[in-house]
Symmetry: C2
């Protein structure tokens, strides 16, 4: 029996004890956004420190202005073993409306949904306590069998992920030396489906802009001034309508600078996932892709940049009718970025375009709502290839390398503050009801998640440094 097989077998044999530990962690109501649970958050952090210490980690609770950080270190079996930083979060979302829960959110239980499909219920089972414990249990099994870990491991668990991570950046800045590793492992994402593990290699960046068009110095009566006075809603509508051309492309000059075509083998692997426009959009009551023509919905949401209006307001918006010409109208617009698109350049191009559309007697105000570039783990990155093989060995179907339309700030922070790429692997499913009543985590996700991390740690540890 190889060491790897021994460790996997150990994980299988000790699954019940691992579940008991997960239950103990889930029972601590660590709701970070509610001050009433401040002590519970600390208790969850301390529980993890104690558990990791028992495993042989050098673990510590670090105070922050908010909830404490858990940081733990363990050497690798070899001095030149790769060094990984594992990230997760021990805080959870609030549980209201409590009446909709079928059982106590903080009293986890095992339920059989259907033959062969067993789930662990409770707040945080999927997001993110169950996920982070897959890694902790993988380490435990390794230690039990091999007495050591194949990689040098640093663990960072935060307690504010569900409330905006206010302490995270300052903490990373202040502890950069202690936390920097060869790459980060982040376990806060999902599988493609129940049989197909996924690695999220691309995260779109984001530029948030708020634009306010100001015309007259007061709201006007549309009878007295309509037809002669500038209407800021018209100006804004024209600006927004001009952001896309007939083919769905964004019209800002230079917008596509730094956007590269996705490699054809990656596109082919996405095609093979069988996600059509009908199936993707059908879930939300739509059927026709609205963006750039000639691209699949997965490419549009994972690998292409966008300009989307997230909100617009101007004039009278209450019940009934008011014949007013507004003094101002405003919109919130976000640009999702891919590849090497430059957030600052795109913000500038947008502002230049808006100004070019503005009548000379009107003015404009801009408000910035954040900006971050896209993150892309190169498709030929060794850590990606290694993890993909390890995951494919564990699950019924080969792992797929996917993109994510949204942004995960921690990944950008690891990149910008610690100069570290992140491997995003997780075992959640889209129906886990995270942030909602009756959150669950599949027993299979937990059991095979532990086994997956064992395989990944083994493969990474065996790779040449």
């Amino acid at each position: 029996m190889t060491e790897l097989n021994g460790v996997l077998a150990k994980a299988d044999q000790t699954l019940d004890a691992a579940l008991e530990r997960l239950f103990a962690l889930v029972r601590i109501p660590s709701i970070s956004t509610d001050p009433a649970y401040k002590e519970a958050c600390r208790k969850a952090g301390q529980w993890l420190v104690d558990d990791l210490s028992g495993l042989g980690f050098t673990a510590r609770l670090h105070d922050t202005p908010g909830h404490p950080m858990v940081v733990a270190h363990h050497d690798g079996a070899r001095p030149d073993a790769p060094h990984v930083l594992f990230y997760g979060h021990y805080d959870v979302q609030p549980v209201d409306p409590l009446a909709l829960w079928e059982s106590d959110p903080f009293e986890p239980s095992i339920k059989e949904l259907s033959p062969g499909r067993t789930v662990i219920t409770g707040r945080g089972t999927s997001d993110d306590k169950g996920q982070l414990m897959t890694f902790v249990e993988a380490c435990r099994a390794y230690k039990a069998v091999a007495g050591s870990l194949p990689c040098r491991v640093t663990i960072l668990f935060e307690g504010e992920e569900e409330s905006g991570s206010p302490s995270l950046k300052p903490f990373l800045d202040a502890h950069a030396e202690e936390l920097k590793a060869d790459y980060a492992l982040v376990c806060d994402t999902g599988m493609w489906d129940r049989e197909t593990p996924a690695i999220s290699a691309g995260l779109r960046g984001l530029v948030g802009e708020e634009v306010t068009i100001i015309a007259a110095d007061r709201d006007l009566h549309s009878g007295m001034f309509g037809g002669a006075a500038a209407n800021p809603v018209h100006i804004l509508a024209k600006i927004l309508a001009g952001l896309h051309d007939e083919t769905g492309r964004v019209t800002l000059p230079g917008f596509y600078d730094g956007v590269e075509e996705t490699p054809s083998q990656i596109k082919a692997s996405w095609e093979s996932l069988g996600k059509t426009a009908e199936s993707f959009l059908g879930e939300i009551g739509l059927s026709i892709p609205s963006g750039e023509k000639g691209r699949s919905v997965l490419e549009l949401t994972w690998a292409r940049p966008t300009a989307e209006v997230n909100g617009i307001t101007g004039g009278y918006t209450g019940e009934g009718f008011k014949t007013v010409i507004a003094a101002k109208a405003s919109a919130k617009i976000s640009f999702r970025l891919v590849g090497k698109q430059d957030p600052d350049a795109i913000r500038s191009a947008f502002r230049d375009y808006v100004r070019s559309q503005l009548p000379a007697d009107c003015s404009v105000e801009f408000h910035e709502h954040g900006g971050s570039p896209a993150i892309q783990l190169p498709y030929d990155s060794p850590v990606l290839t290694t993890a993909k093989t390890a995951l494919s060995d564990e699950w019924p179907k080969p792992a797929v390398v996917i993109g994510m339309g949204g942004s995960i700030p921690i990944v950008g922070d690891f990149q910008s503050l610690l100069g570290m790429e992140s491997l995003l692997v997780g075992f959640g499913l889209s129906d886990d009801r995270i942030h909602s009543p009756n959150e669950k985590y599949e027993l299979q996700s937990f059991a095979k998640g532990i086994r997956s991390w064992i395989r990944i740690l083994a493969a990474l540890g065996a790779a040449k440094p």
Copy 2:
């Protein structure tokens, strides 16, 4: 001394007593929108009934579901004298913020603003108690000197004008026979300037529409779906941006059917008023006309139709930012109509246009917010010509026939329910602060307003039936 000169002299001699009567009416706080002043409204109506009865009118207070109507009748000197219906309203706007008033809104006073410029202060002095009393006092002077009136006069004073006139249409319907006259005289408008009286001959009509574009069946995360799912704000922006062409014309098919060019002599008289784009728009902080190119601001607002967005909303409009793609977005749009434009045809053309712009997987809902055609007293109408001469005799500068960009529902109701055209003459000034603290009415407006009605009544009475 002619009879007319005698009546004019009488009005001048009795101005102080006329002011005392106006003061007595202003002291009654007839705020129609506030139930606390229900009795005060009735009291104001009764005051007018008593005053008109004292003048020899057959006057009566008519109960309605809201505040009562004052209806009064007086025969003309000749059996074949023309019959006029005079309209005004005795209710007033609320007075808050009370702290901004320099004196008690319901304790009128005379103030000299500058040498030669004296005003009457108090809520309702301009809108509309002072204005309606100019006509009552004209009748009084006529009766005092001639013992009769040159026209048969019916008076209608309502008490709900400032709260939407809910009882007016039913009342006109129920009393059509009693109220129908050869034409209506409406005193609720203003002068062109302090020296130039104005007759409002054109009133733009109105079509109000609310359109809601519905895309996905829920709000979406713009990261997960952005670039693939239809964004209703984009669709709405494109629809609104397409409503006008590059020359400022409305693009709806058939929109200009029934729109006639204003006679060149009328346009010339407007030009002579010296209202430039800079002076008209400068007051509201603008300078460049935004509507149809090549037309003056007065023509744009008095004699041309418009399409104006009065309100728009969609997605997240609160503080900060939310990366949402809204399920729906909506706008309120009003069309101002002129000439013989058909409100129903324009509503249909708009709805057809919106539907033509809609992606096949999205839907639209429309809500109607009223529709009324434009009103235009023909520029060669005898009553208009007669009144214009009478006003020009009284004031330093000749009367000007103007348009009004807004709608006055009563004028449409007189037209549609009683088949009667309206002559709109009033003596308010644009700085009278109606609806605001420190409302005033110029003493000159009151004194020469009385004299103006005397002249108009004389001229109308002398005209061949």
